[in-house]
């Protein structure tokens, strides 16, 4: 990690570690919206790590933002921080200024006809709390008014809002963009891959600590070879998720996602496919190592595992990204797959 990455990693981790203990996470998912934490996120400019300087950001690279996005997974931040970060990058790419408040990213369930923008059960993270929506359509970035629509509140397995929004949305602003229609989907997939890496690492840490502390048959679980092998297996999977996610960030910094020649779309697809596939075994092993205690609400492993199960399919899961890569493979032919991997 470079200096900036270290600094971001430490400051963001400190904030989330202080603010998001078991009590807070429980309160936020059962009782209240974490207003004061959101204020702190804004105050520290965490949402603007990828924003342009003119928007008050630091124009960091995705590799620099990686520790921040990973911390959102590691600490199961119950706020649309990763969505806000990626929204700012999209704005920066399109020379747009975003309004204040929480952005809602539209990746599906919308249509546009004669400058009339309609949403039809569009799934929007924290939809009911959004101040505005963002959508990309035919080389234009749309900023839309988030009011007066019909909101069907719904949470994902992590108890984070994934509201369904329907109705017409007034266009507040529009900017020409070189981003493609599916750019938000790709970027969403990337941030979820990074978050899965963070949550997986936290689950691994919990599992190692638990296995070292818990004793059965007169010795700690970590002394049993079967448990050691579970932990080693788990560690390898976590490392694989992190490795391809960080590689996708590096590729995105190097070649963007719009360049016709070579861009980060392949690595992002691979990262989300790998992360989504790995979630099944990562969650299974972390629960197995924990035994029954991990299955309780009181212990808190579930804050991580429930989110991983949700993130697994958000912005495309194994079926979607696997098919994208599978189609690419068969259409390109066996001889071309290695050149694609090494390009």
């Amino acid at each position: 990690m470079n200096e900036l990455q270290n600094m971001l990693h430490e400051s963001v981790s400190r904030l989330f570690e202080d603010e998001l203990d078991w009590d807070a996470l429980t309160r936020y998912e059962k009782v209240e919206w974490p207003e004061s934490l959101w204020d702190k996120v804004i105050e520290q400019g965490i949402d603007k790590v990828l924003a342009s300087e003119s928007s008050g950001g630091i124009e960091a690279s995705w590799s620099d933002a990686y520790p921040v996005l990973r911390a959102c997974g590691r600490y199961t931040v119950p706020l649309p921080v990763s969505e806000a970060i990626l929204g700012q990058w999209v704005a920066r790419q399109s020379g747009a200024e975003l309004p204040e408040g929480i952005p809602g990213l539209l990746t599906q369930g919308f249509s546009i006809q004669e400058s009339k923008f309609s949403l039809n059960k569009s799934i929007v993270p924290w939809g009911s709390r959004c101040s505005y929506y963002m959508a990309i359509h035919d080389s234009e970035l749309f900023i839309l008014e988030a009011q007066k629509q019909e909101v069907e509140t719904q949470n994902n397995l992590g108890r984070d809002p994934r509201d369904r929004i329907s109705g017409e949305a007034r266009i507040l602003d529009r900017f020409p963009t070189n981003l493609d229609n599916d750019s938000l989907l790709y970027l969403g997939a990337l941030v979820r891959s990074i978050q899965i890496g963070g949550a997986s690492a936290a689950a691994l840490d919990l599992a190692v600590t638990y296995a070292s502390d818990r004793e059965q048959f007169g010795r700690s679980l970590a002394k049993f070879q079967a448990i050691q092998h579970h932990l080693a297996d788990l560690a390898g999977l976590v490392a694989s998720v992190d490795a391809i996610a960080i590689a996708a960030c590096a590729r995105l910094d190097l070649s963007g996602i719009t360049d016709d020649q070579r861009n980060a779309r392949f690595e992002i697809a691979a990262a989300k496919c790998r992360a989504s596939e790995a979630v099944e075994k990562i969650t299974r092993l972390s629960h197995q190592i924990h035994g029954a205690i991990g299955f309780t609400y009181e212990y808190g492993l579930h804050f991580l595992t429930r989110r991983m199960w949700a993130w697994r399919t958000e912005y495309g899961g194994v079926a979607y990204w696997g098919q994208e890569l599978g189609k690419l493979a068969v259409e390109s032919g066996g001889n071309e797959i290695w050149p694609i991997i090494t390009a």
């Binding site: 490392a239 691979a270 696997g322 098919q323 690419l328 066996g334």
Partner: protein, 388 residues
């Protein structure tokens, strides 16, 4: 804030741009060179022995690339060698003759060999004219390598060796063996009683390899008996009693390379072609997940190459990649069989895909045996995580 996963970071490595040219050059060479090569032979890759091919690679300067120039090496970075090696593996080039020499013996001799050994042997390695084998496992010492019993007794003129090695690939035709023997019989010195030796197999008497046929009919590995074998004093490599440490370093080279996930890549290529008209979403997704896995493993493997290049010791990371890579490559033949009903065939029957599948299904069990089992790898990983 401390996290176990921080010990397992795989920072992305962007290969230097100029390596692109080297890669193109290697690809063109391999396309040309392997035209007449049978597909089944290609699926053997680094176990296929072809002295002529190795000599050609040597002529090009593509063997022992990282070894020092003064001994005939190229003095290249680890990345240049990495590119040549991964291209050879993916093309299914027959690299068995030079494989061990290029991967580990040359580096070991450069580090620990004496001047005579270096001057005489390293030029042969870089020319692709020396085939090496590794004398480690014994009939009663497999995963518990340090329990080995083949002894090297000090004599007036050198060493006297008696015992047996097993699973020694290419021993029946190799030029040299680098072997680990017990040089100190003191039972209290399990690890500290071991030393490494260089043996000229063409000139030394008393060594008898007996080829062991594998389940697929292949004849690559051997049981090698040593009966009153006399070695000169300077056959010792490095320091007496430091064999275990030296071997551990050697194993890091043996476990960290791209061959640990690419053994079945040739099959993946053929499978993709067999399924070219496939529109079944579930099958396409399965192919896609394999592509994602391969891409991930390559990222990790390349990251290890860059850690080695930076002079770090990525033992933990290398064990992780070997463990994951093995899962990937070992599951591919079975998966291919599930995705497509073209039956696996013996060499000479069926289309190329069927022959490759037939071969790899049979040899896949060895992927998790050679170079350290997953059980051993996971033990190393657990230790690296501080829980063992």
């Amino acid at each position: 804030m401390e996290s176990i996963a921080d010990k397992l970071r795989f920072d992305p490595c962007q290969l230097p741009d100029d390596l692109h040219l080297l890669r193109q050059e290697v690809r063109a060479f391999l396309t040309d060179e392997l035209q007449e090569y049978s597909v089944v032979k290609r699926s053997h890759s680094w176990e296929a022995y072809d002295a002529e091919f190795s000599a050609k690679l040597g002529e090009r300067g593509w063997l022992g690339m990282t070894l020092p120039k003064q001994y005939g090496g190229q003095g290249c970075s680890a990345f240049e060698r990495y590119v040549v090696v991964e291209e050879c593996l993916v093309a299914g080039a027959p690299t068995g003759f030079h494989w061990v020499a290029d991967r580990q013996s040359g580096t070991l001799l450069t580090r620990y060999g004496n001047e005579t050994q270096k001057k005489e042997i390293i030029p042969k390695i870089t020319a692709g004219k020396a085939c090496f084998c590794i004398g480690m496992s014994e009939p009663n010492s497999g995963s518990d390598l340090a329990s080995l019993r083949t002894k090297a007794e000090k004599t007036e003129n050198g060493w006297l060796v008696n015992g047996t090695k097993i699973w020694t690939s290419q021993a029946h035709r190799a030029d040299y063996m680098i072997a680990l023997f017990r040089s100190d019989p003191d039972p209290d010195k399990k690890h500290a009683g071991l030393s490494q030796f260089l043996i000229d197999l063409k000139k030394t008497r008393g060594i008898t390899p007996r080829t062991i046929e594998n389940l697929a009919g292949g004849k690559n590995f051997n049981e090698v008996s040593f009966v009153d074998v006399e070695l000169p004093a300077d056959a010792l490599i490095g320091t007496e009693g430091e064999g275990w440490k030296q071997v551990t370093e050697e194993l890091a080279l043996e476990r960290s390379g791209p061959e640990r996930y690419l053994s079945c890549f040739y099959l993946l290529r053929e499978l993709i072609d067999v399924l070219k008209d496939c529109a079944n979403p579930a099958i396409l997704a399965k192919i896609g997940t394999q592509v994602a896995w391969a891409t991930t493993l390559r990222t990790m493997s390349l990251s290890i190459a860059s850690q080695l290049h930076a002079g770090e010791n990525p033992t933990l990371a290398a064990s992780v990649v070997k463990d994951l890579g093995c899962q990937f490559e070992q599951s591919l033949p079975g998966l291919a069989q599930e995705l497509c009903d073209l039956e696996p065939t013996l060499e000479g029957y069926g289309v190329p895909y069927q022959q490759i599948l037939g071969n790899l299904i049979q040899i896949a069990p060895s992927f998790s045996l050679r170079g350290g089992t997953p059980e051993i790898m996971r033990g190393i990983i657990a230790k690296g995580m501080g829980i063992r």
